[in-house]
């Protein structure tokens, strides 16, 4: 199986404070890896390190075998790392259509490239909102736009930082269905989630971080059946 994304021995620091210690994990192509952990465990820092906002102090990050740890954020994005940030971070003063258009990247060898039409098909409610300013969308719609925006870049690996955060249960379910569909289409995904139920329902592999270290790494089935592991590292289920 091809390794889509691999981290080996990643150390990351904010100034003097050491946040990630020797973090290693692998994501195989077409699989979903859930990155779990309590608040402050280093999940978001891990994302920042992969997308180049916080270059690792030590260790190696590889995208389909190519080292990307020392590249700039824009180069990493162009190599094929897509990112749905926590808190959505859409461009509020651009229209929905402009938000999607500005994120478009062509990629060679993609069987079904993402286009405006395909994103609308994935999120039908965007259709009547294309000319609306993105800042005026509801939280759920903004989340869908943030996902659509990341997809427009035709990512080879999609990173998602808490896509269900702060959303109504119905919308969470819709986000879950979207992720499942992306998975079925063969999209490689790293999913950071506080909603453990949602994450375990989708993931093939699970990595649990605790105070910046990998505390567990294994299959999602293992985690689902091990209540003690969940209580120990993630708190109440």
């Amino acid at each position: 199986m091809t390794e889509a994304l691999s981290l080996s021995g990643i150390d990351a620091l904010y100034g003097e404070s050491h946040v990630l210690h020797q973090v290693s994990f692998n994501l195989n192509a077409g699989r979903v890896l859930a990155l779990l952990g309590r608040n402050g465990a280093g999940k978001t820092t891990c994302m920042s390190t992969i997308i180049g906002f916080l270059p690792p102090r030590a260790g190696e990050i590889r995208l389909f075998g190519e080292a990307i740890g020392k590249l700039s954020p824009e180069t990493i994005s162009r190599k094929g790392v897509g990112f749905v940030p926590q808190g959505r971070r859409i461009f509020p003063s651009l229209t929905v259509q402009e938000n999607l258009a500005v994120s478009r990247q062509k990629r060679k060898g993609v069987a079904m490239p993402w286009t405006l039409e395909r994103v609308i098909e994935l999120f039908p409610r965007m259709k009547n909102r294309l000319q609306q300013l993105a800042g005026s969308l509801s939280g759920g719609e903004q989340q869908m736009l943030a996902i659509g925006r990341a997809l427009m870049g035709n990512p080879r690996v999609l990173l998602m930082d808490e896509p269900s955060e702060g959303l109504a249960p119905l919308i969470v379910a819709e986000v879950g269905r979207t992720l499942l569909r992306l998975k079925q289409e063969g999209q490689s995904i790293v999913l950071v989630e506080q909603n453990i139920k949602l994450a375990l329902g989708l993931a093939d592999e699970v990595v649990i971080l605790n105070t910046g270290r990998v505390a567990f790494s294994g299959s999602a089935g293992q985690v689902r059946s091990d209540q003690a592991l969940i209580t120990q590292h993630l708190g109440v289920f």
């Binding site: 997308i51 180049g52 906002f53 700039s72 954020p73 824009e74 994005s77 162009r78 990112f83 940030p85 971070r89 859409i90 461009f91 509020p92 003063s93 651009l94 402009e98 258009a101 500005v102 994120s103 990247q105 925006r149 870049g153």
Partner: protein, 314 residues
């Protein structure tokens, strides 16, 4: 704006010299120059979120280069105009490279510092710039053999250049590049995570804005047939910034309306009261209090509110 609105505006602009007196025609020409200047600054301030306090560099530099080449080298206008634009744009490339080390307040201070260097040079390098005397004895060009020495023909010349300039800036803003520029203003880090080179987007915008600033500088020196270091001063840069903010940044019409306000106060009102700067200050304070977003978006908002109130009363 509706089609009828555009036709009416075009008719008003084209017909104005037939009804307006020479004083007002000249005032309108100066407004056109200020409008190009403010609109080009708005690319940085409004669409890029990069407040510059050194935009007078481009107006002054292009004007000085054009004046110097025609006076000291004896070159004709057909040669000085493109050379002045080219040289100014190249300096814009360099200044942008330095200024865009920073954003926000740091960017503002760097643009101010660099423009002060030019201002100081214009004052002190007397052998080239004639210092405080300024460069005088210039002429206006004669495109296609048409003299621009009377007020109306210069008005049409300035109107044509302004129309092209505003149109090309509107195209720039509406293009995919313009969308990306607005994206860097909203969420710069997000743009880089989407694969955009934020620095490059800002730099290209800086250079483009410098180019149009230079165009306004050529018109300025053609109009006045004279250039003085004051055109490179912080006051000149601040006036442009004032026009952008008062009119409404990040709108196409805003800087033009702002330029109208500033130029009318500067030229017309100063004929009646000496302290026109004070009045400009009051007007600016009034705008910021009642329409903090600027006159154009502010009037639009108040008009919309008025229409709704009127409808609900019926």
């Amino acid at each position: 704006m509706s089609r009828a609105g555009w036709v009416a505006l075009a008719a008003a602009l084209l017909g104005f010299p037939l009804v307006g007196g020479e004083y007002y025609i000249n005032l309108a020409s100066q407004i056109f120059i200020a409008a190009i200047f403010a609109a080009s600054l708005n690319l940085l301030v409004g669409y890029g979120g990069l407040p510059s306090l050194g935009h007078a560099s481009w107006l002054g530099l292009a004007a000085y280069i054009s004046a110097w080449m025609s006076l000291k080298l004896g070159l004709a206008h057909w040669a000085t105009a493109p050379l002045a634009l080219l040289a100014t744009t190249l300096v814009g490339c360099a200044f942008g490279w330095v200024s865009l080390r920073a954003t926000g307040l740091g960017f503002l201070m760097l643009t101010l510092a660099l423009s002060q260097v030019l201002w100081g040079t214009a004052y002190r390098w007397v052998s080239v710039t004639d210092g405080d005397n300024g460069l005088r004895g210039l002429t206006r060009p004669t495109p296609f053999g048409i003299s621009l020495d009377d007020a109306a023909s210069f008005y049409y010349f300035a109107l044509a250049i302004t129309a092209v300039a505003v149109w090309l800036m509107a195209v720039f803003v509406a293009s995919p590049f313009g969308v990306a520029l607005r994206g860097t203003r909203d969420q710069a880090r997000r743009m880089s995570a989407l694969g955009h080179d934020v620095w490059l987007i800002r730099w290209i915008t800086f250079v483009y804005a410098a180019f149009w600033g230079a165009v306004s500088g050529l018109l300025f020196v053609y109009y006045n047939k004279y250039i003085h270091p004051a055109s490179l001063s912080i006051t000149a840069s601040a006036e442009g910034l004032l026009a952008v903010i008062a009119g409404g940044s990040a709108t196409l019409a805003g800087p033009i309306v702002g330029a109208v306000i500033v130029m009318i106060l500067k030229n017309y009102v100063s004929g009646f009261i000496e302290r026109w700067n004070m009045l400009l200050g009051f007007v600016f304070v009034f705008i910021v209090i009642f329409m903090p977003e600027g006159v154009v978006p502010g009037v639009r908002r108040l008009f919309g509110r008025g229409m709704r109130a009127w409808r609900s009363r019926r």
